[in-house]
Subunit: 239 residues, 2 copies
DNA sequence: CCCTCAAACCTGTATGACAGGCTGTTATTG
DNA sequence: CAATAACAGCCTGTCATACAGGTTTGAGGG
């Protein structure tokens, strides 16, 4: 068996890629669920007939993508869905200037127009309350930009969660890092307190529409919110 | 300096995470672009004052996320934007049943309603031709499901590319793996050749609307296409 | 039956070694 | 002098070994 895998290996990819595939295949073929343990490194080493170095690099790679969880002394376990890898990819695209903040905002707008509608239709009472709470905390701390930002991010992530589609949550959360980098600019561009409070009012309107279960109104407010945000960024010279 | 980094390290995260951060920080602080070389493992080893084992696992992790490219003999280089990591995350979510195919399709629909509109507005002549070509190849090979599928995937990716927003391309491409897994089911569900050809006609209509630069019509056809595809999957019992 | 604790297992990191790929430089040859 | 071939040096890929420290488990004692 070991030899079979060895002879079947493609020319270039290297042993580590093979090991990664073996592990993911194991997860699938065994039907593992989040929290379930994977084979130990030693077991994998024997099974694949490669050194522990190779196996470790494979495990570590999957851990970096947050497909598995590793911690000292314990065996690796299958991980819950996590946005870690996606965030890294987006961040990488931004820092290497392969994608622009503006492009990210266009995607966010597209997605959040949908999440907000779904949230209005599917939200539980608790979710509606959490969304409204984030908006409320934005207002209460409006003189402290950093805190407002964190509640803003929580607000959008809460809406995505209320859409009851984890894929939306995944993507929205992956963009939060970009928001953290650009938020201050957008905030300062709203020069007056009045503008800033108006922006917070926009969030409250969205929360309200979701609470009332009115998707059309929610989408309308969300669109307005994004249009203003993008305009603020453009005014500040962010491409 | 080395000691400074050592004393500043957080308690648990481990040296590898620190090394990963150091590398990404290096990319950012040096303003590296895709193709630019990174420091050698030996250099990183000295700079961070850790073993080569740790540095290698860090490099390998970034390589797994496709943030850098590695190959024997050469130093690692900054990678072009790639969908590898995202695909893995989505696949992982599906195989561990944390997300459903239906949920992925809802996200795809949301995104592609936008990409198709942008494509109609922004496509170059070459892009419009490529999109139409994929549709044409679907028809020409309609008796061979696998080939039709590949052209179907290429069709949707071409539209995303024509949106001129790489983030959309990234996401759409990340979903292609899911499509490969479910496509056959949707195809077989369209029991008659007539249904299958109708579905291909839908693609041609989309391509046509894009060629004519009519976003409204393009969106309309895309919506119809997705609604039918989702219905086919539902009929087949895919949650 | 419960508590304690040590042995067994597991991961995290370090070190040294060697094979093989890549590159630039040098020496050879026409 | 120019083209080319050989080489040396650097780099990554893989392996073997060792040890520190965390986790689990079960045996033994109370």
């Amino acid at each position: 068996m070991a030899e079979l895998a060895e002879t079947m290996a493609e020319p270039s990819p290297g042993l580590v890629s093979t090991a990664i595939q073996a592990i993911t295949r194991h997860i699938r073929s065994e039907g593992l669920a989040p929290g379930d343990p994977l084979p130990s490194e030693a077991a994998m080493t024997r099974q694949l007939n490669v050194s522990r170095t190779v196996v470790r690099e494979a495990f570590r790679s999957l851990s970096a993508m947050r497909l598995i969880d590793m911690s000292a002394g314990r065996r690796a376990t299958v991980a819950k869905l996590d946005t870690g890898a996606m965030s890294m990819v987006i961040e990488h695209g931004i820092t290497t200037q392969q994608i622009s903040v503006h492009q990210v905002y266009d995607v966010r707008r597209t997605i959040e127009m949908r999440t907000v509608a779904l949230a209005a239709l599917r939200r539980t009472e608790a979710e509606a309350a959490a969304i409204a709470q984030s908006a409320k905390l934005m207002r209460e701390n409006f003189q402290n930009p950093e805190i407002v930002m964190e509640h803003d991010i929580a607000f959008h992530e809460a809406i995505a969660a209320a859409s009851h589609n984890p894929v939306f949550s995944l993507i929205v959360t992956a963009f939060s890092g970009v928001t953290r980098r650009t938020w201050e600019i957008g905030w300062r561009t709203r020069s007056s307190n009045e503008d800033q409070l108006k922006m917070i009012k926009g969030h409250e309107d969205i929360a309200d529409a979701i609470l009332r279960g009115d998707p059309r109104l929610a989408v309308e407010h969300m669109a307005e919110h994004f249009d203003k945000s993008v305009k603020a960024l453009l005014d500040a010279g962010i491409a």
